[in-house]
Amino acid sequence: MGRSTKVTNAIRALRFAHGEMTQAELAGRIGVTRQTVIAIEQGRYSPSLEMAFQIARAFGVPLDDVFQYPEAEQA
C-alpha cells in the first residue's frame, strides 16, 4: 500500500490526441469514476486487465500503446 505501480501509461497523451478527451469522458466510456482515471494516469492504481482493454478500445489502439512495463523489471 502506498507504492506507485511500475506500469506506466500514455493515457494523458492519448486523451489529447483524441480531441482533448476529458478524464470525465473517458471515465464515462469505460464505466468508472473520474477519480479512478486520475489515479491510473498518475500511476497510483493499476487497472484490471479487463479495464485496461476497455481503455485501449476507447482510444482504438493496442494495449501496448496505452500501458508499458519497464524491460529491466521483466527479467
Binding site: 500500500m1 502506498g2 507504492r3 506507485s4 505501480t5 470525465a24 471515465a27 464515462g28 464505466g31 468508472v32 469514476t33 473520474r34 477519480q35 479512478t36 489515479a39 500511476g43 497510483r44 492504481y45 493499476s46 487497472p47 484490471s48 479495464m51
Partner: protein, 146 residues
C-alpha cells in the same frame, strides 16, 4: 462505497467515540467505573454512528451532484467501481485484525470474570478502532495508491 462515504466514517467513528467516552468518564468522576450507566449511552452511540454516516453520505452525494451539474458533468458512479471495491476490501482486511484482537481481549476479560462493563467496553472500543483503522487505511489508499 466511494471516497466520500469513507470520509463520513472517518469523521463519525472518532466523534462518536469521543462523546461516548466523555459521558462515561464524566460519570466515573464520582463513582467506580463498574457502577457507571453505560448501556444507554452505548445504544445511543451506535444509533448516532449509523445516523451520522447515513447523513454524511447523503449530504456529500447531494453536494457532489450539485457541483457536477454546475460544471455540466455527469455525477460519478454512486456505488463506485473496481478500484473502490478493491480499496473497500483492503480496509475490511485491516479492520478484521483490530476486531479480532478486541474479541480476544473481551474473551480473556470474561474468563477473568470481571464486571461486564469491561468486556462490553473493550468490544465497543475495538469496534470504534476497527472503523477508524478501516476508514483511515482506505483514505490512505485513495490518496497514495494501492
Amino acid at each position: 462505497m466511494t471516497e466520500r462515504t469513507v470520509w463520513a466514517s472517518l469523521v463519525a467513528f472518532p466523534l462518536v467515540g469521543l462523546v461516548y467516552f466523555t459521558v462515561i468518564l464524566t460519570q466515573a468522576a464520582d463513582r467506580p467505573l463498574e457502577e457507571v450507566s453505560w448501556v444507554t449511552p452505548m445504544l445511543w452511540a451506535w444509533g448516532s454512528l449509523i445516523v451520522l454516516i447515513i447523513v454524511g453520505v447523503i449530504a456529500s452525494a447531494i453536494a457532489t451532484g450539485i457541483k457536477a451539474e454546475a460544471a455540466g458533468e455527469k455525477p460519478d458512479l454512486e456505488d463506485g467501481d473496481e478500484r473502490d471495491k478493491l480499496i473497500e476490501r483492503f480496509g475490511n482486511a485491516r479492520a478484521y485484525t483490530m476486531s479480532s484482537f478486541g474479541g480476544l481481549v473481551a474473551t480473556v476479560l470474561l474468563m477473568l470474570d470481571v464486571d461486564r462493563f469491561w468486556p462490553a467496553n473493550a468490544l465497543f472500543l475495538a469496534g470504534l478502532l476497527a472503523g477508524i483503522v478501516a476508514a483511515g487505511s482506505r483514505i490512505r489508499a485513495y490518496r497514495t495508491g494501492l
